[in-house]
């Protein structure tokens, strides 16, 4: 063996090691680029949700705290529409609506939107909602939930804020902890269902007409089957089912 061939870190690197290192290095760089490309290209699309955090504006409408914090407003598309309400982080705001429930209000926040689903992320602090003294209830009064049918469907329990666009992607096991944290903190949970033609539906989940509590958490983001009653609530669908009607697939 050539005297040159023994690698010692503190000495000059032998030629054979330099050559091998160059080849291995180039090969590893090529492999690195190929692996990055492959892993990145196989990711699933994250859904079309958006949240323009910077565009804070006033929204006029009627607020309710039950089953979750919501605002009925004409300002989404000119027709009476329901926007769910959430804070800037992971929390619901229904408890902070208090005496203003059922009255015309002005809410300050930014819009999170996915298809026809909307949530207003209200600004931090206490000033996010105020009574709209000039406002009228008109068509905006919250209707009574109207039973449509009983269903038994397979799907995934999601938190509405992330699904509407706060996070992309916002479903599946990797997002489970986040969805649990959102629902634990009062953001409205929803049940998302699909068929083989990729047609889908989303229903806000209630239990006996009220918002769900922490009993729901073990099922969040897992594939589950739910038997319950679909109700029309203005432009929203509700799925009313107790936790006992949920089973894991």
């Amino acid at each position: 063996m050539n005297k040159d061939d023994f690698f010692i870190g503190w000495a000059d690197t032998p030629k054979v090691d330099r050559r091998f290192f160059l080849g291995a290095g180039l090969g590893l760089l090529a492999g690195t680029a190929a692996t990055a490309t492959g892993i990145a290209a196989l990711q699933k699309p994250a859904g079309p949700g958006t949240w323009n955090m910077g565009e804070v504006r006033d929204w006029r409408g009627i607020a309710t705290a039950e089953p979750y914090g919501m605002l009925r407003t004409l300002e989404l598309d000119g027709t009476p529409r329901t926007a769910l309400l959430g804070c800037q982080g992971k929390c619901g705001v229904s408890a902070k609506i208090g005496a203003l429930a059922g009255k015309p209000v002005v809410v300050q926040g930014s819009l999170i939107q996915r298809g026809r689903h909307a949530m207003i992320a209200v600004i931090d602090g206490l000033d996010w909602i105020r009574e709209d003294v000039d406002g009228e209830i008109g068509d905006l009064a919250f209707p009574t939930p109207e039973p449509i049918m009983n269903v038994s469907l397979n799907g995934e329990i999601l938190d509405t804020k992330c699904w509407f666009g706060a996070m992309r992607p916002s479903s599946g096991k990797v997002h489970k902890s986040c969805a649990s944290l959102c629902i634990r903190s009062g953001l409205p949970p929803a049940f998302y269902v699909e068929d083989p033609k990729q047609q889908s539906a989303l229903m806000v989940m209630t239990s006996g007409g009220y918002g769900h509590n922490k009993d729901l958490l073990p099922y969040v983001a897992d594939p589950v089957s739910i038997t319950g009653q679909v109700q029309r609530f203005g432009d929203l669908f509700l799925l009313d089912a107790p936790v006992s009607a949920i089973s894991r697939l």
Binding site: M1, W10, L28, I39, A41, A46, M167, R168, K173, S177
Partner: protein, 348 residues
């Protein structure tokens, strides 16, 4: 100048190695992020924070997979010794990338609520009794703690003060970290994104690491022939002893012995380097000193002592030459004991 420990110093080779490493990391992250945004349908792009979480997570796993292949590969071919020599830079870099992955994940998925983010990591998913539903985040957390302990003790200061034995034992924790990470990915990302290529990539990584370690481990166990003469072990015929190189002899008891030839002299020392337990018998005599193939630590042939100012000492062994065949006494002298080399051609 006193030398309680000697740090492996920065060298031009190390700098070149680190440059390659940085280029590779940049290439991976930039490539991953660019491809993530360019391949998704319009209006359905992933959130930038979530793209970076994925980019750093996958990179840290792939880097650790590569790091764990270096050890066994270096036992099969000398050409991987330079990678071995720079392995610690790779390890610390991997920890930093994993830390970024963890910090972003904890901030993004577990932050922004009244629950403490670190508490959320462990309670948000309560399904500890399920396999496919298992809170995989906790496995990643365990691996990160192990990688942190190793990165924090990676400096030679700790190697010297904990002792090479304890240091190596501590650093075997990386195997458990790797096991936790394979399951972190298996029970996490690929429970949701079921593309078989992801499963295949993960399986190939795990099989490579496990396979290389099992093969090199089993190969390392076989002990060499123990023909002897009066309790001395046969090494080789003088003619088969390559100059400046060693034969490694594994006695039934005790550590392996490295028997070196330097010109017309034969000497034997312990095969175990004091620094990190590197195989001295796979080293070479450079400038009259036995030089460890791992980090270049040196010992004088005649007494097993590192040349001043260094203070490391290894055991020496008596040798003799009978009828052109080299024998070694398997009973070690105390580390640093002078031992007269056997002279080729001087024996009866």
């Amino acid at each position: 100048m006193s030398h309680d420990y000697k740090a492996v110093q920065s060298t031009p080779f190390k700098k070149r190695f680190d440059l390659w490493l940085l280029i590779g990391i940049a290439l991976y992250l930039v490539g991953f992020i660019a491809v993530s945004f360019s391949t998704q349908p319009a209006g359905e792009s992933l959130h930038p924070v979530q793209v970076v979480i994925r980019a750093t997570g996958t990179l840290a796993f792939l880097l650790l997979t590569f790091i764990l292949c270096i050890g066994p590969l270096a036992r099969f071919t000398d050409r991987f010794k330079p990678f071995l020599y720079n392995r610690r830079h790779l390890g610390v870099t991997t920890f930093l990338i994993a830390l970024m992955h963890a910090a972003l994940t904890i901030m993004w998925y577990h932050g922004f609520s009244e629950t403490n983010p670190l508490v959320s990591v462990f309670i948000s998913n309560p399904r500890y009794d399920s396999l496919s539903g298992f809170p995989f985040e906790s496995l990643g957390f365990v691996a990160l703690i192990i990688l942190f302990l190793m990165a924090a003790t990676s400096h030679d200061f700790w190697n010297a003060n904990l002792g090479p034995g304890l240091w190596k034992t501590l650093h075997m924790g990386v195997y458990f970290a790797y096991a936790a990470l394979v399951l972190h990915v298996a029970l996490g990302a690929i429970q949701f994104n079921k593309d078989p290529i992801y499963v295949g990539l993960l399986a190939a990584s795990a099989v490579t690491v496990i396979g290389l370690h099992l093969i090199s481990g089993i190969a390392g166990l076989r002990s060499s022939h123990r023909d002897g003469l009066d309790g001395w072990l046969k090494v080789a015929a003088v003619a088969d002893m390559e100059d400046a190189r060693a034969k490694i002899i594994r006695p039934a008891k005790g550590e392996a012995i490295a028997v070196f030839r330097d010109g017309e002299k034969i000497s034997a020392v312990s095969n175990v380097c004091r620094h990190q337990g590197g195989p001295l018998g796979e080293g070479k005599i450079v400038d009259g000193c036995i030089t460890c193939p791992w980090h270049g630590f040196q010992y004088r042939m005649q007494d097993g002592q590192s040349p001043p100012p260094f203070t490391e000492k290894i055991a020496t062994y008596a040798t003799r030459i009978v009828d052109g065949v080299v024998y070694v006494n398997p009973e070690p002298n105390a580390p640093g004991t002078p031992q007269t080399p056997s002279q080729i051609g001087a024996s009866a």
